[in-house]
């Protein structure tokens, strides 16, 4: 249960970070508070869009789905439901793979680091680790018999 709570909390923070990047991308926020990083450079590159949509929007969508699923998994009727656990692990793995791809682009293609993107990468990695640990752990509460 504690792992799922941590996962939900991390997902909410990730959703806020992705929303921040998305609002910047669509011009609602004037500047990114990036310190000495290269946020604006990364956001101006062609890799900041995928299939015509801002990458951050995929982040918003992904975190939102994980958040809804995580919150559902905290409800008493789903606490012991392994399907929720498996679905969370599957979605987190997709998110983690996407994060690896984006981080590789920053490090090896753009040679620039966007701190907010890295924050999101760390959060998604933690979510993935938690979801895998949850997946491998024994169910604390037996799933309903039907």
């Amino acid at each position: 249960m504690i792992r799922r709570q941590a996962l939900v909390l991390l997902t909410l923070v990730g959703l806020l970070v992705a929303t921040y990047l998305w609002l910047y991308k669509i011009g609602v926020l004037g500047q990114l508070q990036c310190g000495t990083g290269s946020c604006e450079f990364v956001q101006a590159s062609r890799y900041a869009e995928l299939f015509g949509l801002p990458v951050a929007l995929y982040g918003v969508g992904g975190y939102a789905v994980l958040l809804v699923l995580g919150l559902a998994g905290l409800q008493p009727r789903f606490v012991g439901d392994r399907r929720v656990t498996r679905l969370l692990a599957a979605l987190a793995t997709v998110g983690f793979a996407f994060t690896l791809y984006l981080t590789a682009i920053e490090l090896f293609v753009l040679h620039a680091i966007c701190r907010w993107c890295m924050a999101s990468a760390v959060i998604m990695t933690a979510i993935w680790v938690l979801s895998i640990l949850e997946q491998r752990s024994r169910p604390s509460v037996a799933a309903p018999s039907r």
Binding site: L9, G27, V28, Q31, A44, R46, Y47, L74
Partner: protein
């Protein structure tokens, strides 16, 4: 469990509040060297039709769709364009209009286009345009060109604080996107692409060929 939901609500409230404040505070935000409020991103509908060289009354207009990272565009700008400027633009025969068409296959072309627009904001578009093309090594290293672009901006005499504020805010991103859409609608598929008096030009992109075409268009009818 109740404590957890309280914590979750607090995080959501604080985070949402910060985002809301950020969106509301934008018009007042200004950098130290930004001369006050940071201008809003320029909308695609600002009516901008590209930077021009030459007389407004020139009988021929050549519109170029170009990509600063494209090697063919650089070759054209450095080899053919000086002759075209001298023989066709300076003589009042041609007005040259530059339109951004950053290709999605290039890593930094959109960033370079932003740099051009931010230089244009300070009346130095062509100065930066020339540097981006004549010192094209930045496009071959594969490295982040932020630093060389700032050097170009400095050399061109730009106010770097204003330039940085413009770049950081991606102030002209929508304008560049509008230029790309305009090009796509006109049938542009690669760069450089040219339109002469609004018609697609499919000839060779050499100064001689442009001169021959312009001469034929401007020759008085007998």
């Amino acid at each position: 469990m109740k404590g957890f939901y309280l914590l979750l609500g607090a995080v959501a409230l604080i985070g949402g509040g910060v985002l809301w404040y950020g969106s509301q505070a934008k018009p007042e935000r200004g950098g130290a060297g930004n001369g006050g409020a940071a201008p809003l991103p320029v909308a695609a509908t600002d009516g901008f039709r590209g930077y021009t060289l030459g007389s407004d009354s020139a009988p021929v207009e050549i519109r170029e769709y170009s990509d600063f990272e494209c090697p063919f565009c650089a070759a054209f700008a450095t080899v053919q364009m000086p002759v075209i400027r001298e023989q066709l633009i300076a003589t009042g025969k041609v007005r040259w209009r530059f339109r951004d068409f950053p290709l999605p296959t290039h890593q930094y072309s959109r960033y370079a286009a932003l740099a051009g627009q931010c230089a244009g904001e300070q009346g130095k578009f062509w100065e930066l345009h020339d540097r981006l093309f004549t010192q094209h090594q930045w496009a071959q290293t594969g490295k982040n060109p932020r630093s060389p672009f700032r050097d170009f901006a400095r050399e061109a005499g730009l106010d770097l604080d204003k330039y940085d504020a413009c770049m950081d805010g991606q102030r002209y991103a929508a304008r560049i996107q509008a230029s790309v859409q305009e090009g796509e609608a006109a049938g542009v598929r690669g760069t450089p692409s040219f339109f002469v008096n609004g018609r697609p030009y499919s000839g060779r992109g050499t100064s001689d060929d442009f001169k021959a075409l312009v001469d034929s268009l401007t020759k008085p009818h007998k």
